[in-house]
């Protein structure tokens, strides 16, 4: 199968043609002409390497009413992703080689993105003893990222052992940083607004204290640490300090923490309930600056589909989490590219190159150059659209961006040379 992309602006550069053949980029140059190739007109479109998500909840197995590997893969492809890491908090939990291989196989069957399972750090996410991390690493799913996401590995001794143990197979522990004793019953960011709304506060210190502890542990044992969904200005400061000391720490920020603030909670509409919670405008600004200067390595969606009944309820009864895959790139455009904080190379770095490196994914996050795997997307940066949850490919509708106009439209996505999205439509 041969595809000729005409006139794309690679990383926002001058228009050029890309020839995709046999899953790879065969040629890049001006006025390429190949008889029999499928031609894709990319006039005015920006070409980026396919996005890599370090943090996706696909809900299968267990909550197929909220999302499946297939529907989540479709949402991912439409968002410009070519690889997603599927979080381990499924039912059953992905804490054995059997479950991670099941998720990996479902991803292959769907064939829309590379679904890379994340393995649980502890058995049943219970934070008591290590899951068989080596077995998951050695399985067909080739797990490298381990996380109890949704729960913090709160026990410091257990966290230390996990950090050490995964060094044997170049793994990384992705920590959901939340000191559980400080967040019992917590519903939203603790501050002026939580005081007024009467919602139990989730203090920034509960995140920052765990990150501070973990970077010291990672330094002590010489291990890799990844911090999930950083949400506070203080966390950015701690990460900046740790990196200046040479600690092997990486971090991600979600699109919603880059765009939305706690003020959304004043509606008591649980579509805005998420863990960690939406924070203040000062936090949002610090997260944008941290992503721009590289203190935060990656944008990760924390795409968290929930069935209607889990959101159409009282705030406290609702499950935390929001959709993200289909709007992630648009939010980065809105919050970083358009204000001039990040250029197209920066977008590729934070949404593809670095997340692929953190997850040790071969074949993703590569330059758009001859001989490289043909994983890429074409984006119309000039398009603007109002988000309609009913039009999303996700099986769930809990988008915090409903009714909001956002810039950018993913026109096409290619996974190893095959179009998963064309003209903004999923190809299967």
């Amino acid at each position: 199968m041969t595809t000729l992309i005409k006139g794309a602006r690679v990383l926002g550069g001058d228009p050029t043609d890309l020839l995709l053949r046999d899953g790879r980029i065969a040629a890049v140059g001006e006025r390429l002409s190949v008889p029999g190739a499928t031609v894709v007109d990319a006039d005015g479109l920006v070409a980026l390497p396919g996005l890599v998500d370090l943090h996706t909840h696909l809900r299968e197995p267990g909550r197929e009413d909220a999302e499946t590997v297939e529907t989540g893969s479709r949402a991912a492809a439409l968002g410009g992703f070519t690889a997603v890491h599927a979080m381990a908090n499924t039912d059953p939990v992905a804490d054995t080689a059997g479950v991670v291989e099941q998720v990996w196989r479902l991803g292959r069957q769907a064939g829309l993105v590379d679904v890379v399972p994340v393995g649980a750090v502890t058995v049943g996410l219970r934070g008591e003893r290590l899951a068989e991390l080596g077995a998951m690493a050695d399985s067909a799913a080739r797990v490298r990222v381990f996380s109890d996401d949704g729960h913090c590995v709160a026990d410091p001794a257990l966290m230390r052992r996990a950090l050490e143990y995964v060094k044997a197979f170049d793994g990384v522990v992705a920590q959901h940083a939340e000191e559980p004793r400080l967040t019992a019953g917590a519903q939203m960011n603790e501050g002026d607004l939580s005081a007024r709304l009467g919602l139990t506060g989730w203090p920034a210190a509960a995140e920052e204290a765990v990150i501070a502890r973990d970077v010291l542990l990672a330094e002590h044992v010489g291990a890799r640490l990844h911090v999930c969904h950083v949400s506070t200005a203080g966390s950015v400061e701690i990460l900046r300090w740790a990196k200046s000391r040479g600690v092997q720490v990486t971090a991600e920020v979600t699109p919603h923490h880059l765009l939305l603030t706690e003020s959304a909670a004043a509606s008591y509409d649980p579509v805005f309930k998420v863990n960690p919670p939406l924070r203040t405008d000062a936090d949002v600004q610090a997260l944008r600056a941290g992503l721009a200067d590289g203190t935060i390595d990656a944008v990760a969606t924390d795409h968290a589909p929930h069935a209607v009944e889990d959101k159409e309820s009282e705030w406290a009864q609702a499950r935390p989490g929001m959709l993200g895959l289909e709007q992630a790139l648009s939010v980065v455009l809105e919050t970083l590219v358009e204000p001039g904080l990040l250029d197209w190379a920066g977008v590729a770095d934070r949404m593809s190159v670095r997340p692929a490196a953190i997850g040790r994914l071969d074949g993703h996050g590569r330059p758009l150059a001859p001989g490289e795997p043909a994983n890429l997307l074409l984006l119309d940066p000039a398009a603007r659209a109002v988000v309609d949850p009913a039009a999303l490919a996700s099986r769930s509708r809990n988008s915090p961006y409903a009714g909001r106009e956002l810039p950018g439209r993913v026109v096409a996505t290619f996974l190893r040379g095959t179009a998963t999205v064309l003209d903004g439509e999923a190809q299967k």
């Binding site: 603790e190 002026d192 009467g198 309820s313 009282e314 009864q317």
Partner: protein, 306 residues
Amino acid sequence: MKRHLLEAADLDRADATLVLDTAAQIDSALAGREVKKLPTLRGRTVVNLFYEDSTRTRISFELAAKRLSADVINFSAKGSSVSKGESLKDTALTLEAMGSDAIVVRHPSSGAPHRLAGWVRGSVVNAGDGTHEHPTQALLDAYTIRRRLGRLDGVRVAVVGDVLHSRVARSNVWLLSTLGAEVTLVAPPTLLPVGVGSWPVQVSYDLDAVLPKADAVMMLRVQAERMNASFFPSAREYSRRYGLDARRMGVLSDDAIVMHPGPMNRGMEIAADVADSVRSTIVEQVANGVSVRMAVLYLLLGGAPS
């Protein structure tokens, strides 16, 4: 008046004063009558939807609606379809389908009345939501202060106790400051919310320093379960530092009143001889609660059925 009464924070001075004035009119209209009933809401249906046990508030609303000649349905979360897992939304739509004009809701989750108001066409009255607000309690407290002291403007009110978990305190903070009173919150720092600095109040940790300057002292109930979560070391220490006993009552100015939303922990936040003193408005508050709730239902539902 708006369609709903969800929080004291969104009552402006005119609306709040209208409720108090209406309650006063109702009181004088019923004074000395043998049949304490007005025909105003005949044919209208008020549902008391209570997800928490609160016999006092439920009875107060029930009496208020009945004295306005409304039909009243009491829907308790216990022993109903709710215990079988029915959602708040489904319950609300069911009640509305049966023809309810107003839903009076008590719920353990902050914001539940706001959610309800988005789902139903009728009026929603917040009868206490989680640790958020209890606006009719604040209205009856304001009504009680105004009756006893003759005014609200410039009145110095000390609110003492577990502000962190108190919907009564939150509603009083907003309503009393809207009506011109000067509120001082008195509590151990553990029982004040982070963010209290943004409220239109003074904050003190020292009850003895506040009492001589107070025109009204509102004691909040302290829940026993707070003791096990290290908000304070012991009931005895709490009572010594923040309880209102006869000695402390002695430093109050001559006209100062002592209030409590009930139910009281006698001997904990308030001593028996204080609760039963002539300064105490506690029983009066209960009576005023019915009048104020009549005023609220009248203003939200008043007039002919639509």
